[in-house]
Each structure stands twice: as C-alpha cells, then as structure tokens.
C-alpha cells in the first residue's frame, strides 16, 4: 500500500474550499489568516495530538500552466492540502490518528476546515473521520528516511544523543570503577527524565565560538 512506509503513514488530503462570492474575506483567505496565527513550535496543536512527525497545511489556489503548447486549464475549487507523516499502520491506525486529532484539537480543526465544502465538524468524531477519508487521495510513492521509529522513540533518541555526548565529554580519563558508577547513575537519571516536548527546539545550548569563519 503506497500510503504506508514501514510504521509511518503518508496521509494526503485535498479538501475543497467553499466558493462563496458573498464571503468577505473569501474562505481561502480566512484559512490562510488563521494558519498564520497558529503556533508552529511546542505549542502547536499538532504537538498535542500524538503521532505527528511532520505535517503541513497549504491552500492550493489552482493548477499551474507551464506554457505552450500545453493547455491552460483551471480548477473549479481551491483546495486545502493536508500533508501529514504520522505513526500509524493501515486504515485502523489512520482512523485512530484522526480520532486523536478530533479529540486534541477540535477547535482548531473547526476553525480551519469550516471553510471547506461538506465539513461536518470535529464534535461528531465518526463523521469527521468519514469526511477526512472522503477527501483523502492515495499517495503514489512515499519515501521515509526513518520508517521504523515513532515520534516518541525519535524524541527519546535525540535526548539520549545529546546527553551521551555530554557524558562522554565529561568522563574522559576517569578511573574505571568511578566511570562505571557514574554511568549507571547517568543511565538511571536519563531514563527517568521526561520526554522533550514535540515541536520544541530542545534545551538552549551555548553557541560555540571560534569556528573557521569567525
């Protein structure tokens, strides 16, 4: 199934945007205005909804005319494109993810998708899932650099990588029994540490100066 690559699912949704001459500003502009105010870091609604690696929302105004001798044509609707790389296996996994979105960010979903044709609202979760699947287009080819790790596992690994680098730097030349005791203590402490928040830049680190270009 081309939507799937390992344990990662490539969701592509094209939701037709309402075309109402009386709407001012137009519905596509209202979507863009709302998206421009939505946080993209640790406070992003997608950070609160589990399982999102990367996602984007794009208003697709029209198809592109690439020049003669091709034919110039235009879409009847503008589309809201939702491209999402998420932890899920198969259709059940996708439905669980969509249910998670409806539960964790219903207000944002309504604010964005209420400008789209036929959107039923996130309050009726089953209707919401049906709607999203009706707007889904199948991914033809999906590539994932890391296709067997969840968001949680990746955040944990990045946290470990950073901590291990610091530990190695601080333990150089240490006597064997002390090194062992320190490592056991370090490993226990690291395992107990809370996971970094999805979407965050991680702990602030000092900028290292003195590079070749400075």
């Amino acid at each position: 199934m081309p939507n799937q690559n390992g344990s990662v699912y490539g969701l592509t949704i094209l939701s037709p945007i309402l075309d109402d001459e009386k709407a001012s500003p137009s519905h596509d502009l209202q979507i863009r205005l709302y998206l421009s105010t939505l946080p993209t870091g640790a406070n992003s609604p997608f950070a609160k909804s589990p399982g999102t690696h990367l996602c984007r929302l794009v208003v697709m105004d029209d198809v592109v005319y690439v020049g003669a001798p091709s034919i110039e044509e235009h879409l009847q609707s503008k589309y809201l494109v939702f491209e999402c790389n998420l932890d899920a296996t198969g259709e059940e996994g996708l439905e669980a993810y969509l249910r998670g979105l409806a539960e964790h960010m219903p207000d944002h979903l309504d604010a964005i998708w209420s400008h789209c044709v036929g959107y039923p609202g996130a309050a009726d979760v089953q209707a919401f899932i049906r709607y999203m699947k009706a707007c889904q287009v199948e991914t033809t080819f999906f590539f994932a650099a890391v296709n067997n790790k969840s968001v949680t596992e990746s955040l944990r690994a990045l946290q470990t990588q950073r901590a291990v680098a610091d530990f190695i730097a601080s333990s150089q030349g240490m006597e064997a029994s002390r090194l062992q005791a320190k490592f056991v203590e370090f490993a226990a402490k690291l395992k107990a540490e809370p996971l970094p928040k999805p979407g965050s830049m991680g702990p602030k680190r000092d900028i290292k100066l003195g590079g070749r270009n400075e």
Binding site: P16, T40, T140, F141, V146, S154, T160, V184, A187, G199
Partner: protein, 198 residues
C-alpha cells in the same frame, strides 16, 4: 507563508500530465516500491526526511457534492511534497547532480519538463510549478534527517550498554565503554538552532 520550520524546508509542486502518461508513471512508482534497491539514490540524498509523489487523475479530485462544482480537467496532475534539510538551491542542485536520471524518469511524463540537467532550466521549471506552504509543523525542528538516524544508533548502543553496565567488573566496563564510545563517536553531532538560510 512558512516553508521553513527549524531545519526542515517544505516544498510543494504540481505538474500536469497527459492521462496516458500518468499510467506509465504509476508503473514506474510501483517498481520503485517493489524493489527497494532502486531507491538507493534517494536514500543517499540523506537530507530528505520524508517525500511523496501523489498522482491525481483528472476525474479523481475529491468531490463532496454540497454545491461543489465538479472538476473538468484535461490533464492528470502530479503532486510532489518534500521535507528536506538545507536550502532550496542546495536541494535542487543535489537532486539534479545525484538523481538526474531518476528525476527524469519521474518528471519526463509531465508537460514541458526540460530535464534535470542542465540545472538552470530545471530550477526555472521547479520555481514555476512550486507553491508555498501556509503552515508547517515538525516534532523535531532542531534535528536533521542525519541527526535522527544517528540518534537512533546512539540510542540502540546506549540501551545495550546500560542493560549490562551493572553486571561488569570495573575493568570489563571500561573496555565495554570504550567499545561504546567507538560505536557512537561518529553519531554525536550537535543538534540545536538552525542556521539562517537564504
């Protein structure tokens, strides 16, 4: 507009294809999916986190009634979405240099595709068919695709050592720790704020 979040760039592109050509492309993608060895060049471009091609037939754009006008198109459309590290220019240059034949195989079915070499015409074409991202989220904006791969190597080695650490004598542990350092030393690159890119 926000094509960039931390160390990742979101690219969107759409190109028209004659309907019979889109079937040829489907066969090519099917072969790519069935024979992962053919994806090696894509894997070698280690700055791509996720990428996808979506071929939308002219009559398969989502139609939900409720007064929505039906699409009346002559072309099928190929959508391309990529999440990559680095700048637009670096990405297109590397794509053209490393994947020229692969890209030609995928996009030669699109109207007016000039070929991925020479790169100047290729860039002009991509710039024409690209459209900007309105909202972009990543769970790990401070990390690149290579950082992620390395972090998982470190995590696996770390788990293996920490599971045994208490059972070793100090001398055995020192040796195991040295082996661990040798295993992970090439995978400890620093993550953090992204550089300013243009």
């Amino acid at each position: 507009m926000s094509n960039i979040n931390g160390k990742v760039y979101a690219m969107n592109a759409i190109t028209p294809m004659k309907p019979w050509k889109s079937w040829v492309l489907r066969v090519i993608f099917f072969a790519l999916g069935e024979f992962p060895a053919l994806q090696q060049d894509l894997i070698n471009l280690s700055f791509i986190e996720f990428a996808r091609w979506v071929s939308v037939p002219r009559r398969k754009f989502p139609y939900l009634a409720h007064g929505q006008a039906k699409e009346d198109l002559r072309y099928d459309y190929l959508l391309f979405f990529s999440n990559f590290n680095g700048t637009w220019n670096q990405y297109i240059d590397a794509f053209s240099a490393v994947l020229a034949s692969g890209l030609n195989l995928i996009w030669r079915w699109s109207e007016k595709f000039p070929g991925s070499m020479p790169v100047t015409l290729f860039k002009e074409y991509i710039a024409r068919v690209q459209f900007d991202t309105d909202y972009y989220y990543t769970a790990y904006p401070h990390a690149t695709a290579n950082d992620l791969k390395s972090a998982h190597v470190v995590q696996a080695s770390f788990e293996s050592l920490s599971a045994q650490a208490g059972n070793y004598t100090p001398e055995e542990f020192a040796e195991a720790f040295l082996g661990f350092v040798l295993q992970v030393q090439a995978h400890l690159g620093e993550t953090g704020e992204a550089p300013v890119v243009f």
